[in-house]
Point group: C2
Chain length 369, copies 2
């Protein structure tokens, strides 16, 4: 019978136990202390000895026992996260939950996480929080750089201080972060286009709705829009579908309503709406109020209000940006780099989850990733 065997022993070296520092020391005719010094590049080792030890480490394919390491070294890794306060935008509950979850998994390895919150509508509050964060000299930083310009000097500072930082949610990959985590905004736009067009076989108008953001400072929204438009071009559909662009401000209801009703009146064949942010519920609510039920809406994120309109059919699909996962993986990337010395990918793109009424449950309260 066919049989695979996964176990600690390699096939070649059949009955070898896992290689320990002791084993290396023995084979190299030195003490464990010396091996330790080589492993940690603490110096104070003769050249020839160092080479010999390194060779043997390679030969024996030594892999440190992470348990024992975490147990032995009482080192504490102090991570800091810098994210918007959920009280201003419930979206940010997700990342915070993800960060907390990652912390729970990693605290055994000596990880501590401080979360600094700022007001996503006030650049100053970002700066204040970031300065405070810096005062504590963390070993690694995770942040959502929604204030790009304001974040720049901090990038410089961390680079100078050799503090790895991970960015998420807002696609920025200059300034050598350790890693960027989030979705591919461009593909995200293409996917949204597919989902709308697939359900709207007849030629019609489609609205691209941006919300609340300073578009010039929000590169990811621009990318989403390009991806969205690209889909129609790539599939030779740009003659059949008219794409309208709108920027809305949900803060002032009356203005928002006026803007939206203008768009609807001016485009009688409007049948689909792509909301580039998590504010799809604003539009759904408006349409519901007006008893307009034949629109297809695609938006982002499983906010309670969005879920509500997904369930009653006003919203056709939500693309899950996995905010929880972003926080979770952000902390994990730092740990992988600092604690486990793993290579971490500069781009960590999370899946583009398509959520409908039918599969909603699996994305709502998953504690795992």
């Amino acid at each position: 019978m066919f049989l695979y065997y996964f176990c600690a022993q390699t096939q070649s070296n059949m009955k070898d136990k896992t290689v320990r520092i002791k084993d290396i020391a023995l084979k190299a005719n030195v003490s464990t202390g010396t091996v330790d010094r080589v492993l940690h590049k603490r110096g104070r080792v003769a050249k020839d000895v160092e080479e010999r030890v390194l060779r043997i480490i390679n030969e024996l394919n030594y892999e440190p026992n992470l348990m024992a390491r975490a147990l032995g070294s009482q080192k504490v890794y102090r991570f800091a996260a810098l994210i918007p306060d959920a009280q201003f935008d419930v979206y940010w509950y997700g990342p915070k939950a993800g960060i907390e979850h990652a912390f729970k998994e990693l605290k055994q390895f000596g990880v501590e996480v401080k979360v600094y919150l700022f007001n996503p509508y006030e650049a100053d509050s970002f700066i204040t929080a970031a300065k405070q964060l810096n005062a504590t000299q963390p070993d690694g930083v995770l942040l959502s750089p929604i204030f790009y310009r304001e974040a720049l000097p901090f990038f410089e500072h961390w680079k100078a201080q050799n503090i790895p930082f991970v960015l998420f949610n807002t696609e920025i990959t200059d300034h050598q972060p350790l890693s960027y985590i989030g979705q591919d905004s461009y593909l995200s736009g293409m996917l949204a286009a597919k989902m709308l067009q697939y359900g709207l076989p007849e030629p019609c108008s489609i609205l691209i709705a941006h919300f609340d953001e300073d578009i010039s400072n929000a590169a990811h929204l621009v990318k989403k829009e390009s991806g969205f438009r690209k889909y129609f071009i790539q599939n030779q559909l740009h003659d059949s579908y008219k794409l309208i662009k709108g920027e809305f401000n949900s803060a002032k209801f009356s203005v928002f309503h006026q803007q939206l009703s203008d768009v609807i009146e001016n485009n009688p064949d409007l049948k689909g709406i792509y909301v580039t942010t998590s504010k799809a519920f604003e539009i759904a609510a408006y349409l519901k109020e007006r008893h307009i039920h034949d629109f297809k809406i695609v938006g982002y994120d499983l906010l309670p209000k969005n879920v509500h309109f997904l369930n009653n059919g006003m919203i056709s699909f939500l693309i899950n940006q996995n905010p929880k996962g972003q926080g979770y993986w952000g902390i994990h990337q730092l740990a992988n780099h600092l604690i486990f010395k793993k290579e971490v990918a500069v781009f960590k793109y999370l899946p583009l989850d398509i959520v409908t009424k039918e599969n909603l449950n699996y994305f709502l309260d998953k504690p795992e990733y």
Copy 2:
């Protein structure tokens, strides 16, 4: 500024380090040995003492240090997996990969995994492999019980031997497995219906295509079909759409082609096809050959051939059953139960991932879950 602080110290007990057995022993006026006996229910502890210790464990919110545990106890956990050989059906590469991935994460905790392969088209080979598996007296078993009847006596045996077993892929939840892992077949069918109907606004006929399976022995396919039909009833669409059922056998090409062309000829308004297994590519290939391009197909699983037809547009959507994840979580459920003493959910439903050309990449080679 707002600030959350995740660290080893609880807020109430500010400067407490993590609680160790020693701390409990101290507070309970006993030795660590006694605490240990209480923790592991090894007996030989006076009733009153046990109660006191348990109370203090609770009060102090003790959580064992998994590192130290894994280090200290050299215990080896021997898991066995019993799955079809991928050489008969490439689908099974997924579970095997997931099992291997889980092993890599868990080997630090002393986990070993033996994978026994059988021929999914020969019940005897299943029995042979299962017997061989039993001979090794594993601590836990993960299997896909695609031969339901043949698996029954083994369920009994494991139950009698107190060996936890986890089932996956084929929905079976009798016989008290530790856990079942897979998709909710019923919801899966509903989702497929949604994806087809959403893209086919006009009334038409839709084919439900089963493949290769002995339907009477494949409860999950029946459930998929019920869910699929339910969608149309629930949404009052059963007048507009005619649902046709077909059972195909891909082994005999000529027969299969005849069957399929019959269905197409007899239903000129056929526009959608729901393939309940991973064999959607068979139908896509046929249609492609006949230059029929206006059908919407929804099927399962990211097999290379399916991916091919997803990319060229013949298949609209694939629902990812996450075969890799099933193997991964299967092993993890065993570990959670046996090693980490966690409660494990009897039903572990994996998300219903909707895969299109646009978001395909994220589901193809994700090493994480």
